[in-house]
Symmetry: C2
Subunit: 290 residues, 2 copies
Amino acid sequence: MSATIIDGKAVAADLRSRLAGEVESIAGTGLTPGLAVVLVGEDAASQVYVRNKAKQTREIGMASFEHRLSADTPETDLLALVARLNADDAVDGILVQLPLPDHIDAQKVIAAIDPDKDVDGFHPVNAGRLATGLPGLVPCTPLGCVMLAKSAQADLSGMEAVVVGRSNIVGKPVAQLLLAENCTVTIAHSRSRDLPAICRRADLLVAAVGRPEMVRGDWIRPGAIVIDVGINRVPNPDAGGGKTRLVGDVAFAEARAVAGAITPVPGGVGPMTIACLLQNTLTAARQRRG
Amino acid sequence: MSATIIDGKAVAADLRSRLAGEVESIAGTGLTPGLAVVLVGEDAASQVYVRNKAKQTREIGMASFEHRLSADTPETDLLALVARLNADDAVDGILVQLPLPDHIDAQKVIAAIDPDKDVDGFHPVNAGRLATGLPGLVPCTPLGCVMLAKSAQADLSGMEAVVVGRSNIVGKPVAQLLLAENCTVTIAHSRSRDLPAICRRADLLVAAVGRPEMVRGDWIRPGAIVIDVGINRVPNPDAGGGKTRLVGDVAFAEARAVAGAITPVPGGVGPMTIACLLQNTLTAARQRRG
């Protein structure tokens, strides 16, 4: 038996299409949700990512505001820009692309964003709202993980979920979301003993460790839903000439033979992140403007 | 074999004694940490609790400020008092005793407290700091649970911890603290399937559900550390005359025969809560005044 492949591109496209409809339906009220993205420096991956965000923002009918600052921008200038965007009524969501150059304190910049415009969900206030069940903005990748899991099984209640990885960006918030879905949630990590045995308990396994193909096929409970957050670039000797390929944190071919449903890499969690960012921007616009 | 009894009274007394020493050692700098406790209404249990807090605060050399308001105090008056306490430099910690009368929005009052004086650790900003590993003020009962577990085994790293209960006040923050101690942490709750089997996985079991003696002896892994947060009043037919007794969420006699170490009720987690409140007040004083 081979697992169902969870098609992140298709789920993300559905979500964008639904969001486009909602943006259109509120356009009559004169409201156009706006997303401001701030990029400091010339990091190539970040440039691609920011360009994609802007494109997808416009495609669903939202306003996109891009701010590109040079790599040597002083922290005070970046904080001043954030303050202007906080005060700008046309801006519903603010995203400062990470990583930031070393001379800038990312934590300080994130804390300067109005929590109600913090569409990345990284502000401590939003982490606290998530932790205590209050309405707030939730980090995009964890949101995407839960949507993909629910695309495979609509009701996650009572499932044994195991989250491998305890980062603030993925592991911890995805655990909170799965708890809110009434899963029994285990958070495992580098200090966990017998990680394979812990993973084998999972009806729903979320791998978010950033280690290529660490989770092997025999770590998977037969029939489990596997959500692979990892995006790791590794050498691809088959292609020759120093070529590389992308792999997840899960050994896909092995896991696919055991799991009930699994996200591929690429094409699984990745495409959901920007779609969830757009959803957060719409959520922020609605909450802020009533 | 019978489990070691974890003596919460003794651990709390040790902590208070250590705190008294620290308060004395900073008295030379002219700093006296101050704790303000606000009680609205006449709830009998709250009155006893507030009196004990004030007494223990003074006993370790801190200043205690008590504010008793009538049950019909308007919410605006309570918020005005919180604002005054926020601004009062002699006040390092503010605790508004819960529950509040129905006409007052407790969430709103908690959110009005300066997070840096929020010694109950219930403000969303402190929940967010805890969730993201930033320094902040942590709820008292969870802090006490972890201290008692560490009194039984100093290094919890790599242990399988199971927390039964997912309240904002105990279950969720204790899970965050155990994760920070490098435990593999499972949060189970009323929707969990086969709770006995989940509990049997635990090297460290924290029961925080508020259901008398729900956790039975055969739910306990032999040798496990058991922290019982429940304080439930039940009929005591042996004593006759409608008498009652206090029991935890764990069937103590059964569990004691299996566990390696266990907290009793009363005399386990209960005494730790006020001691941890005093510790939080000292922490707040240090952080705020440098």
